[in-house]
Symmetry: C2
Subunit: 295 residues, 2 copies
């Protein structure tokens, strides 16, 4: 992918958490001026003191109206709200808006209604950390990780190239796809795993109500499988609620697969069970080997 | 728990893999003589060369007939087979037999048929490593980890105390319970997580057949939730097949819990969804804090 080096005259980052803070650090040398916008005073003053941003405000409209690049680093429905408010009319012509929300269809749909002249592309970096907050920021958070870009009706060819160069300046790997496809994929690799993890914990907690030895004996395997259940509930609620259809489709497929394995198990058909589990094991090992290599 | 320090005159360990090898290392100073029994020549010579054992043989009966303590470190059904063979008639009176199989009911049932005079207690240490084999042995593998002990019809009061002192000499935490209760607990904290992990990978692999971007975008959350799917299939088949009833019961409860969350999600009942997910998150965090503290 060939894209010129990314430069912004005035970059505005809406949302100074882990993701927005890390963006500010990584783009520091690519922007003449960075404005941070957040309703939380502590995040703003942390960002100012740490030199993440040159100025900080809680006023969305004042914060974006001189920008030539705006990054929306907020929960999905907050991003959609912002796009549906009058934000478009505060943006200068030719401004590039990119978001980093975890689901994309609702966002690119809302981008379509921005005024002509404002450019916008949906984005989703496949990175993060267990704990959030601007204090956790890391300028290398995006490096070598996929960064999905989803076109909207406001993605001009020039805007597309500029978004790609933004992503590449983070050291991330730009992967372009339609929002619908993105949302189906994250339903499988992220939202379904979260629901399984939470449901596993609910099932064990239910048993543990009458026998605390469940908690005493749980070890490494339970720790790994249950880790996603500790995710922020508000964030996950936002994500799941904006991807209900894809998640429900995947859940139906999951149930079918589970029923097949269970049938073999209960039927004592150990040979078929083993024949089903072997390719699963191989697929997981192959993926994990590649994943660890890429990190 | 008060138990005298563990001593064996002649300890025989059947199965020189990760678990058996680590036992040999940890019990080195508690036994005058250790015999290792394994059908694999490479494991035997590794154990001999490394000083894990004083002698090694592939002959089960010759290997155990001078022992005053025998530890069976093999897959569940191999242990059951050994107990059902004439092994009892080769054991000296007052010998203590302890196993470390992953499910306990079938094993303590088989122990019940050992000759009177042979003492036997079921055991299950809640520890392990991602990779097996005697080369992976670690004398601290059992330290500070729960080691479940399940009584059989051949557990005399003296045998019980001796088994507890064996466990404590490993630095492990002895937890006594009936085999049935043990098997229900591990169904929840270990076998259900494995099945979910494998079924998740099967579901994603199915999708990835027509779109490889599933694998490209999968990241840390998928890695954790899918880790158990890489477990040894033969070992898991052995475990699941000896705990079918408890696993099926837990699967039914899992499905109910999942259906409740899905109903709220599809119905757009975000408040109830959040009210259900919050206590799950708290339960997981509380457990994980305690678990990490105990390690």
């Amino acid at each position: 992918m060939i894209a010129t080096s990314f430069r912004a005259r005035h970059l505005s980052i809406v949302g100074l958490g882990l993701m927005g803070g890390s963006l500010a650090l990584a783009l520091r040398d690519h922007a003449d001026h960075i404005t941070g916008i957040d309703s939380c005073e502590a995040a703003r003053s942390y960002g100012l003191r740490g030199g993440f941003v040159d100025c900080a405000t809680d006023d969305l409209f004042a914060g974006v109206n001189h920008a030539d690049v705006v990054i929306l680093a907020a929960p999905v429905r907050v991003i959609v709200e912002m796009l549906k408010m009058r934000i478009g009319s505060y943006l200068r012509s030719n401004t590039l808006v990119v978001d980093i929300g975890s689901t994309k269809q609702d966002i690119v749909d809302a981008m379509a209604d921005l005024p002509v002249g404002v450019n916008a592309m949906g984005g989703h970096p496949m990175t993060g950390k267990e704990n959030g907050g601007i204090e956790e920021s890391d300028r290398a958070l995006y490096a070598n990780r996929p960064f999905v870009l989803c076109p909207s009706r406001r993605t001009t060819p020039a805007a597309r190239l500029r978004a790609i160069s933004l992503v590449e300046s983070l050291g991330a790997i730009a992967i372009e796809m339609e929002a619908e496809r993105h949302d189906q994929i994250v339903a499988g690799i992220s939202h379904l795993p979260y629901l399984l993890s939470a449901t596993l914990v609910a099932t064990v907690a239910n048993q543990a109500d009458s026998d605390s030895a469940y908690w005493e004996l749980a070890a490494g395997g339970f720790r790994d499988t249950s880790r996603l259940a500790a995710s922020d509930v508000t964030m996950m609620g936002d994500i799941l609620s904006t991807n209900t259809k894809a998640v429900a489709t995947l859940l139906a497929q999951f149930r079918m697969q589970l029923a097949m394995l269970e049938t073999m198990l209960i039927g004592g058909d150990e040979q078929r069970l083993s024949q089903s589990l072997q390719p699963i094991r191989r697929a997981r090992k192959e993926w994990a080997d590649n994943y660890e290599k890429g990190r």
